[in-house]
């Protein structure tokens, strides 16, 4: 029972969604839209599970004085402060203005955004270190990788005089032609892999997502 019902649900809803695709009628469209809404709403409930896990892990860290437990206090403080501002006690109790609370905005603009943008900008450093570490002519494949990366990066060098335009052209040709071919091959493969996996899921062959095998 515990095992069969979920598998049956997957089969039924999976087949329904496949059929839905071939039925343009309005009613099929509405069901489709409802299902997508539902998935979204269930996701919000799931977020509560996540927050619960975060609180528990942090709490355990503090309780058992695990390494770096002091920082877990900061996580919890940030979490509760932001939840409080988000739901905006006191000023606009229960109104959509919760999100326009001054502190909520300030936390967003001066804590979330700067850290997020800086984490993102670390990529500038990492792309350099990855290039330094990995672009070495160890083998034919590594050399191809290295040379085509260099050709594309050379667009940014203004000192190649008459061959400059040719470099530029080669770079954009690489990005347009072989790039298209490789991407298409990968996409076809991925498409097939997805279809096969989805089919396995619907047929109940692939069931790792339900836990016990």
């Amino acid at each position: 029972m515990k095992r069969q019902i979920p598998l049956l649900l997957v089969l039924v809803f999976g087949i329904f969604m496949i059929f839905q695709y071939f039925v343009p009628h309005e009613s099929s469209e509405w069901i489709y839209e409802f299902f997508l809404d539902w998935i979204y709403i269930i996701g919000i409930f799931a977020l509560a599970l996540g927050i619960w896990s975060l609180i528990r892990v942090s709490y355990d860290k503090i309780k058992y004085k695990k390494p770096n437990w002091q920082y877990a206090v900061i996580t919890l403080a940030g979490l509760f402060a932001m939840i409080l501002f988000g739901f905006d006690y006191g000023r606009h109790f229960f109104s959509a203005e919760g999100l326009s609370n001054y502190m909520f905005r300030a936390f967003f603009d001066y804590i979330l955004i700067p850290i997020q943008a800086t984490m993102f900008s670390l990529l500038a450093f990492f792309i350099a270190s990855a290039a330094y570490r990995a672009f070495r002519a160890r083998s034919l494949l590594a050399t191809l990788l290295l040379v085509s990366a260099l050709v594309v990066m050379l667009r940014f060098n203004p000192y190649f005089g008459p061959i400059g335009p040719y470099l530029e052209q080669t770079a954009s040709w690489l990005l347009n032609v072989p790039n298209l071919a490789a991407k298409r091959a990968i996409i076809i493969g991925i498409g097939l892999g997805m279809v096969a996996t989805a089919l396995k899921v619907i047929l109940g062959i692939e069931r790792a997502y339900l836990g016990k095998d």
Partner: protein, 409 residues
């Protein structure tokens, strides 16, 4: 064309100067609407039918252009489509089509309270007006109607997809049967997957944990589903070797599933006592906060091996470089095409696109999974054959073959 217009303008200036409108010639030049010309012939043969293969609320119109469109008087600059609920009107303007146009699909909204709501099963009347540069000079077709719109129950434009679904289903079922019957199905080696076992061994020797990242996908993303299977396999090995396992999660539902998977694997390995819930934990559903936390974990726990399987976006390189900095062996796999290059460059082993899906079958070695892998290969062979036939027919100017694969919306 330009010459003619210039001529008309000069003529116009002349006429207006003579007739003495009391305006300067310059101002008249800026007012082209007062140009005098003969009305064009109307468009003819207006026909309307319900638009095929849709949810209704739409009518397809066709007509023949006015003889004065591009020929004759050559003064038609476009067509206006009008619709009414009775042949006598009132008609409302629905569309403006540039000259030369012979058709229009009148799509309305399906919501009743929307402005341009177009109800189904209601008779409509249409007429088409050929317009000229002068808004007062035009010609109208005869009114056509009534025509009704309605929704269809089967989209014939999507038949190619249906054919492939059926084809795929049969090939898969066939090979699964074959594999069940004991046929030996060969699978080529995948370096990335063979490295997993080795990496777990290494972690055991070093006494360090393994970090498994499921990516940023949702629980239902196919890449994540493939990743669960690999996680299950890794967790089982980890349980057998008694190594540590860390699984930080981005999506709460993914976390739930991953907990189940890992728990089941520990049970399978006969070590349910070694499992504890917080091996798999939620971090946050914010891309870079998640990355910041995983980065910290990598540098503090110094895992022997990092495994990244699933959907990854810009964070791929941040994770992989930090992992390399921490000296971990790194195995990755994603179907996110834009990120594959970064994993290839920064990780020791990478499963490219489809290899990620194949990995679960490869690891499981179950006949059912191997059977579907075989089916995938046959579909690929079909793709190659279709591409070759397509190329041959294309180069001999036969378009029909290509049309077989045309899928309408």
């Amino acid at each position: 064309m330009k010459f003619k217009m210039l001529l008309a303008l000069i003529l116009l200036c002349f006429v207006s100067a003579v007739s003495g409108f009391g305006q300067s010639a310059e101002e008249i030049m800026a007012l082209p609407d007062s140009m005098a010309m003969a009305p064009p012939a109307p468009p003819s043969n207006v026909r309307g039918v319900d638009t095929d293969n849709d949810h209704g609320h739409s009518i397809t119109l066709t007509w023949e252009t006015s003889p004065d469109d591009g020929a004759g008087l050559n003064n038609v600059i476009g067509y206006k489509v009008f619709r009414a609920e009775s042949p006598d009107g009132p008609f409302i303007e629905r569309a403006l089509i540039p000259s030369g146009g012979t058709g229009h699909i009148d799509v309305g909204a399906k919501e009743k309270d929307a402005n341009d709501y177009l109800p189904d099963h209601v008779g409509f009347y249409y007429k088409v007006r050929a317009i000229t540069a002068d808004s007062l000079i035009y010609a109208e077709s005869e009114v056509f109607g009534p025509v009704q719109s309605y929704g269809q129950w089967f989209n014939t434009g999507r038949v190619p997809v249906l054919v492939f679904v059926i084809f795929f289903l049969f090939v898969t079922l066939f090979f699964i049967q074959k594999a069940k019957g004991g046929a030996n199905l060969f699978v080529r080696r995948l370096a990335g997957i063979e490295a997993v076992d080795e990496a777990i061994g290494r972690a055991t020797e070093m006494g360090k944990p393994i970090l498994y990242v499921l990516g940023l996908g949702t629980a239902a993303d196919i890449a994540t589903i493939a990743s669960y299977t690999i996680l299950g396999r890794v967790a089982k090995k980890v349980a057998e070797y008694q190594t540590g396992l860390i699984v930080p999660c981005y999506d709460p539902i993914v976390m739930t599933v991953a907990q189940e998977t890992v728990k089941a694997s520990y049970m399978d390995a006969g070590r349910p006592d070694a499992y504890y819930e917080d091996m798999v934990y939620f971090v946050t559903q914010s891309q870079f906060a998640y990355v910041a936390a995983v980065n910290g974990t990598m540098l503090r726990e110094r895992p022997a091996t990092n495994i990244y399987m699933g959907k990854f976006y810009a964070e791929s390189l941040i994770l992989a470089e930090t992992g390399a900095l921490a000296g971990s062996i790194q195995i990755s796999g994603t179907d996110e095409i834009a990120q594959i290059p970064f994993f290839v460059v920064a990780c020791d082993y990478t499963l490219i696109g489809e290899e990620l899906y194949a990995a679960s079958a490869y690891l499981g070695r179950e006949p059912l999974l191997l059977g579907s892998l075989k089916a995938q290969d046959y579909a690929k062979a079909a793709a190659i054959i279709i591409a070759i036939i397509g190329f041959i027919t294309m180069n001999f100017g036969i378009e029909a073959f290509k049309h077989l694969f045309y899928v309408s919306n």
